[in-house]
Symmetry: D2
Subunit: 286 residues, 4 copies
């Protein structure tokens, strides 16, 4: 049983929380807690275990989870977010353009039950990736940008999304910039993978720039999407070494490898309820 | 203020601990907790902060730490180990042979106050490293093995050690095997750095074996010393990539780099009271 | 144009090779060369470019490649292996059991033309992975072990393989040990991915052993298969960090991630003609 | 024997070079070659071995090296840079400010003969690091900036440097920006270590910015110094993972670890004559 809590900090919070848990005879297998002292915010993730020796333990089932949630809310500051046993199998919608690497990896993992989530649909502004979705029996909707302005395009995307229930939107190499209006509809629910270099390159053709600068590492960053473009809270980052024998095309290829790996890692952390957002940063209880 | 706790597990332990802490008006900045369910053991590390708004907070000083320790012991199972504000600056004795890399790195860090510990003395079975100790104003004792059997040699080492108070013995590339008798005197207080390869090579000249096997990675392992040679609880491990252009000598050189880094990392974790031992494994609250 | 050469070493070899190349007006974009002094063996990989300014360059096409190959053989020691423009798109057969992660990754890459090879068929001793092969339109043959001895089983596998032309057999988590007879049929043509830990664990359930030892890293090794089980020439190795919060199951999951990545990397190197074998080691011109 | 060559590219260059070498009966143990096709530049590094079976080999000594150098120049384009057996033990001058970590590591390595270079002097704009230099018997000169303008300060530094012969100046955490005039005096001879983050942070207090952005990796870059501040050719880059529990101070501490490692790595590559500069990039024959 997983419990995640986010609220204003105050003295005695952990005691109050764990008092409730102990009163229900749960054992705490692990607890991760972090206080952001600058903003006085409290974050915690607990893994509980019902005592196996006590067949009478009252809160082992879903009803029990709801009861525990209410009991915890009662001892926490007003406005506390408490989730007991958050949905262990998330639902996600994907937005893609032409590149297959992140999409393919996600489809493969979900197909074999290793993603921790179901892909409810994929929306592409090109139709190139419809075939792979069909091979994995996942709905694909082609919403071309051509002939539309951004408002019309985003409306069309939203219309497709409306047919589905989902927890997160994953931008799996979606190459169009979304409007603040669109982003505001899914706060803390959109995840993007960004090719970011060391040092970071801005503008068109970052791999060409990286090549010309002769970098020895290239990286990728998975982050929540906010209106501050490519500046939302970072979930995961990794790098891959390159050298002078890499052409710009080789660097792009290496970039795809690391993008795939970082997005997979970030999604696993998010779907496992290990990621909290505090201002523009994440707290990751890895 | 750091609190570390190790005891038998039972339901309500975190509630009891944090209840005491809240009663003393401490704020919990971070808490790491782990239960070993196989052995029913409980481990926790808490970082506390006195409420800055309350000038009357009763336990901000050392006396307060002692009081808090007693109050915590009172609510924990018999035999619990509790340390409040464990000595933040440890004392260590080093055993060395001929290789300078780990010793030099440790001396340098302590000289600039970055080790989290003081080196009280260095004992070498060769005298090669006396000069560098002298340059850092650290006592060096040469205890040659030649002309002694192991009992006599270890007695001579112990005689030198007796003059010093220390928390840990660090085997910084000490190339002699210590007897069970010697090791038993310092349970959970001796740390070794071991060149271990992937796959592991046993016996003489591991770098020659690694070279002949054409490995692509070499590694190092820092671990507590037990009588099971090179098999004590692992604290930290890292690797460094190598390739076919590396001679056995180049591999040894790369091995020294990674040994230095892994031992430095392991010592930092131990000196920071982040490492617990549970059976033959460590729990590291990194 | 890529040229790979392997032969006995002697003074003047590079001069002879590059003399032939210059005589044909090729420019050498990059050259990697290695001499194994212990065995007096010479290995080289050259990337050539026809001079763009010279429309008369005589050896820009396939016929040119054959001519260049003959001209190089003429100046090299007897028994030299020379390949000019080795088949840039290899053919591979896969042997699998139940685990999908390496197979799925390979199928995905080949589907999008990013593998550098075609998968001509997949043979499984269980039928679990037939479905994913079908989704990628790749032939799958189920050859159960049950009811057969090893000789009969391997004969059945060979009968299926006979229908296909392939350059390499990839053991993508194939969990049966192959006989020396089988292995001898495909010298330097079988590649395996091996979960290897640091330190290496032998025998059943390596992840349980790794968990009990409390390792901080787990790794994987891709290697050519020889009759010395899990001891063939290493192509690539990587590790992934783990910690005390990992159960044995979590370690297995992390192990799958790194197995997938290492096998993909090794295949890319092999298919790109960057890997040579020298005794029981590889030379990798990365 | 090491041979490094840099010149305009043309067809037949490797043949010409290796022809000369073969004529002198040297065996080529390894050859690394790279052509920058954009600029038509040729770079090569060869490791030669005299045939052990031939006691009459004419060019085994320094005179031989000079002769070989002349013979190579004769077959290369005008303006070619050829060095046979470049000085294997370099001389370096260090510029420092207050931070000890890179300086200490360099002093330690050189003290034990593991740097591949001698530190001829250290110049500090503060006097804090004089003590550690004295402990390693290395001359330290304190050139304060206070009371001087940049011209006067740099003149004072140059006056100290004039007393020494050196191959490279290493800025080992030297925190003052040098003028184009100063930099122009030491083209391709100054190496700097730069804390660079992912994404890169510009301006004051980069670690505070990294902390506020919640990065998961921090990095460091060693590069040659040009007048384009922090934009010279990159020699080496590495990263170290961080997480939400790191304060800005912890990130700075982690940054120092990685700066030390990257600078050590870069110096080893440079001192080993493995680094070439091509426009604003390096070619590193690692």
């Amino acid at each position: 049983m997983v419990v995640v809590i986010q609220c204003k900090d105050k003295v005695g919070l952990v005691a109050a929380i764990t008092g409730v848990i102990a009163g229900q005879l749960f054992n705490i297998v692990s607890i991760r807690e972090n206080v952001d002292t600058a903003d006085n915010l409290f974050f915690a993730r607990l893994v509980l275990e019902s005592p196996v020796t006590d067949a009478m333990a009252p809160v082992q089932n879903v009803a029990g989870a709801e009861l525990l949630q209410d009991m915890l809310k009662a001892v926490l500051p007003v406005g506390a977010i408490v989730r007991v046993n958050p949905e262990p199998h998330k639902k996600i919608a994907l937005l893609v353009t032409k590149e297959y690497h992140c999409l393919g990896d996600i489809l493969l993992r979900q197909h074999f039950g290793a993603l921790g989530a179901s892909v409810v649909c994929v929306i592409g502004n090109h139709d190139l990736l419809g075939d792979i979705c069909q091979r994995f029996s996942v709905p694909f909707h082609h919403v071309p940008f051509e002939g539309k302005d951004r408002v019309a395009f985003e409306s069309a995307v939203l219309r497709e999304l409306e047919a589905y229930a989902f927890d997160y939107i994953v931008l799996a190499k979606f190459m169009r910039i979304l409007s603040p209006d669109f982003i505001d509809r899914f706060p803390v629910r959109m995840i993007n993978i960004h090719h970011s270099f060391l040092p970071a390159f801005i503008g068109a053709n970052p791999y060409r720039q990286a090549f010309e600068r002769g970098v020895k590492l290239i990286g990728a960053t998975a982050h929540f999407v906010t209106n501050d473009l490519d500046e939302g809270p970072i979930i995961a980052q990794q790098i891959i070494p390159v050298n002078h024998t890499f052409t710009a095309a080789d660097m792009m290829k290496a970039g795809k490898e690391i993008e795939t790996a970082v997005l997979a890692k970030a999604l696993q952390l998010v779907f496992d309820d290990r990621v909290f957002i505090c201002n523009n940063k994440t707290i990751v209880f890895e």
